[in-house]
Symmetry: D2
Subunit: 370 residues, 4 copies
């Protein structure tokens, strides 16, 4: 099954021969040298790599184990102070195919951020869009444009582009979480701005609910003071209790014989901007998936890259034909057009983010189900 | 303060004289007779009434008292059976300015529907968009496209165009509620279709939550099975507990010194379609307002007509300069361009619906705050 | 073939019996009298007419012959002066089914406007949207927001809502044309505003091209000074030479074996707003059709009303099964859901306008091809 | 003057000190080694370069002289055959700051393509969006999805993503033109697909107008066979005669005292998709600018990169404060946030393309006028 215009069976039929390979003469060498001097590059010598038959990412599919990530984050907490200048104790997951750059994919940044007891990460803002997902723990508040937002297990939290934000841990225990941003995309395309803010948090209170939630998190209700659409979601935190219940209801509906699940045995929700019903931010899609024990999703290829983190349960992912076992907290990246399928041993909950809004808004989206 | 292009101070400067009034001759009389025979009407004799300087509705501002409405609905329950053919025991509120037609305004229908103990109103569907608002009572389920939806005090319920729907009262007590539709608009513009469905409800179960709520009423979460936008909201019921809490939070935020209320002392939410963030249906806007005791809203004129029903508390409305006292259940209509202001004696809760989506989508919307 | 959700074969299955007809008792009479006193109307007694099984317009299909219209317009020119107060020497075509109101349909106004030699119709503006179509003649300039626009045979001219406009005839000959507006819709829904402007035209020059055309009528080119979208088209005149050529090319492409025509033998263009690609105004769609000799269009039913004027050639229209011969200048109206088909004797050119944007924006559009 | 949220005066206030620089100990070295082994990169050591205070492109502003480009293209024509495999005799302009990659900016590819007498470049298609702009010459036809499109001086021609296309030169003279694509963006983000097509052109006729123009290039007229919006423009060629006239009219309107020009002395048009009024393709904006002799544009900084080619006249560009003289055919690139101003010696015509649709659709657009 193919959506969009692609016919996967045809597009690999490349000719074996380049009819534009001229004879190697002194004249030609001189021409190529002159090209170089003039900062010109012939297309005919590099077409195949520049414009492959289908996406041929340098990024590779890769898994990071939580059992290894967390101890390293903890050691950073012991050795590296957090503060102004470095700004965040965050460990970027660098795709091994991307030559040592801290990019999990060409578009996405994923990092484990670690905040020790009583520590504060100072306020700043940037054009890059950011979110946090809490695989475990509690006790940190992130302050977004002056609004303190509690961070707890399973919560999905937003700091869209150009919002000031800082974090504080009010407890005696450290906390770690997943940060996701469009840093590589912003860097590559030269769109980033950055500004330092207050070193102390602008609001040190620790309310249970942020003001953004109190205003916006009532299903189907839009405050009349907010009827103008915003490019990013106005909601600061999507709480686990809602996500959990939404997924549970989909599986119940399926059991009762009604529509609701995304595919058989596979419940899924997208986090959305309530002013538009669209993605939470202009570059990042975020979703949550829950599979019944024993469920395997169809094998898909999608244009654009995705990152998953296991939140609960046990299962595996098959990436380009290779199966990888997954435990709680494990992260993996699916580069563009790499085939993937999830397999659930127990009930299997995964957080998922991707650059799908970029692909859809720029008309590059394609999906094939094999 | 004026939004849009209107300058209210200028637009009433009409000339006193029609320079196109020709001398009354036999030739002219013959011409006018020939016009009539050919089904032609001269503009110059009727311009002023056809194209007034500002909206000059035939509909008048009017109040219906719940203390009079409910007893009449009850008497209907005793005398008129409910069933196929007549379909609904609904009493349409007819604007006294609209010549005996059952229209509360040129666009909107409002009616009190009454369902006795154990009665069933059979299923049907129509192109007209409909909602229900429950000012009091419980015990009725409305079945929308096969999904049973509980109706309870304060709930706002949807049956958008071309959805099958019927109602059953499972209790020993009667129940009455407000129906709102775009019947006059549909009738006037010849867009209505109607189809009879099952006489018996297609699902007689009485769950606490409809399937639509279980799938859609999780704040900021969109099921992946429903990522295609729909013209009408997929939510069958907006529950009072959410509306109440959303309004309470706005007033609390105001008290704490933060943004949130629509105007000082005036909390308000709009019921929206979660797939778009826009109005619940293509022709009808629905909102809920809560005023602090003592609050008076600014005096507004708006293009398009509105209907309010008092849900809780006591206050008044000033319509074109005349104050009307209001009690729970009372309904009033504000025709186009009639000035209105709400005044709260106690905390004052009002349900509100209007034809604003028509005005906005067709570029006729204007508001003046006086 | 049916678009949308309607199944025409089902929707007429109405029950013969109204089970809600109660016994006629004194008590019931008293109840009905009390209803009347309270301005309440029972739905069960009028459901069938209020909410018919499909659109059952009071407006009827009707033809006006140009050979009769023009002489009457001319006689008006002799007997009725044009000027301030009456504003326009316009003869509204009143649908015989609409009880003497100057409405060609519930939404649309169509009129023949007549301007004698050297006459001026003074400037004014109104919220109602207006256009003109010139079936014959030349020599009049319409001034829209200060921009003089030449009116010539075949041209389609725009005066969207709230633009000042007036007309002058600079020649020694009279000129008549078709005016189309949304006057009935605006009147019915109380959205109209009106303002008198200058009695003398604000610009009496008579350029060949309006400034709007000089800025906007270059195919696929948008001025950088106009990159903000506007609800109405910024183009003042759509010239016949362009319309003619567009239609001719479609028929040529068909002859050459390529896509382009709307249906076999039927070329058609829609006049659009270049800032959006959508309809020229928020309430009125305008199109031009050209049929090859011998072509008959499929029989269609459409929700919403249409008006056609023959521009060139000879043919007929079949309206609800009855054929009507048509000559140049003849006008006919197709009320909602009335079936229609065009038949071309010679090459057959028709101007066409409708309320389709209302139907589409409000989600009431349906079409059936029989 | 600043549009968007940026305050250029504030955003450069970076702290001089990184408080997260820990003491260099054996333990820390071990930690950093373990990071590397686990493919983790600390944010705190690279924040400044990854997330600069404002865009700090590696690409540099650069000028290519036509007087040097064309002779090299000609020499390629003599030495390198054109055909299947290499596909195109195109010389990519490689930004000297981008390390030898054939990218004029991180998002855009610009190349001089050269086709000798009677040569054919075979058909293929790719997900990458492409256009051509003809600075001089004629005699080539490009066949886009089977539709032959004449290429002549001043024309702007489209081959949007996934359209088959090939070129043939039917004359005895060579022809060169500018190709613009989103190759770097597609490569970087792994969205490219490629498919070979016919080696011979699928249609070798050489009509004056393409079928796309015959169907779509009538101002304000949309074929009824094409009322569904398309993501890319359906127009194959935007002809110089229209562009020239549109620009001339803007300058005339300015002279007459009316609005029309983009800024004083500066006429400009955007090439748009007539189905939406938006950009011709999802990733590339194309515009044409004409300056009166003596005009200097304000100095701007814009997020995203632009390329200009001089079409006619003489002038200069000031890039980050340095002036560069420009002659016909000269090309220059303005990387993101580099300040630029055009200065016209004679009447000065420039073709201009950019990645602005990417920036706008993803909410990264910012402009500052200094």
């Amino acid at each position: 099954m193919t959506t969009n215009t692609s016919d996967a069976s045809v597009i690999d039929k490349a000719p074996a021969h380049n009819s534009m390979a001229p004879e190697d003469t002194a004249e030609l060498r001189k021409l190529y040298a002159d090209f170089e001097a003039m900062h010109l590059m012939p297309l005919w010598t590099q077409l195949g790599s520049l414009m492959p038959m289908h996406p041929a990412p340098q990024a590779i599919p890769y898994i990071w184990k939580w059992s290894q990530l967390y101890p390293l984050a903890k050691r950073s907490g012991d050795l590296v102070p957090v503060g102004r200048g470095g700004e965040r104790r965050a460990l970027g997951l660098g795709n091994p195919g991307l030559g040592g750059r801290p990019y999990i994919s060409p578009t996405l940044w994923a990092a484990i951020q670690y905040l020790g007891p009583k520590e504060t990460a100072p306020e700043h803002r940037h054009a890059q869009n950011a979110f946090r997902f809490v695989v475990d723990g509690e006790g940190v508040w992130t302050v977004v444009n002056g609004d303190p937002v509690r961070m707890s297990r399973g919560d999905f939290l937003l700091t869209p582009g150009w919002c000031f934000h800082g974090h504080q841990n009010i407890t005696d225990k450290p906390m770690a979480w997943l940060d996701g941003l469009d840093v590589p995309f912003a860097y590559q395309n030269d769109v980033g701005f950055f500004e330092f803010g207050s070193e102390k948090l602008s609001d040190e209170t620790t309310p249970d609910l942020s003001r953004s939630e109190r205003l916006w998190c009532h299903p189907g209700l839009r405050p009349l003071s907010g009827v103008k659409d915003t490019p990013n979601t106005p909601i600061g935190a999507y709480r686990w209790e809602h996500t959990d219940r939404a997924l549970a209801e989909q599986l119940l509906l399926e059991k009762e014989g009604f529509p609701g699940v995304f595919e058989p045995g596979h419940a899924a929700v997208r986090f959305v901007n309530p002013t538009t019903g669209g993605d939470v931010m202009s570059t990042i899609r975020a979703q949550f998936h829950r599979l019944r024990p024993g469920t395997a999703t169809p094998t898909r290829r999608v244009v654009g890259s995705s990152v998953f983190q296991v939140f609960e349960g046990r299962g595996s992912v098959v990436l380009d034909g290779t199966e990888h076992k997954l435990d709680i907290g494990d992260l993996f990246v699916v580069p563009s057009w790499v085939s993937w399928s999830l397999q659930a041993e127990t009930q299997f909950d995964l957080f998922h983010f991707s650059d799908a809004p970029i692909m859809e808004r720029l008309n590059f989206a394609r999906t094939v189900i094999e």
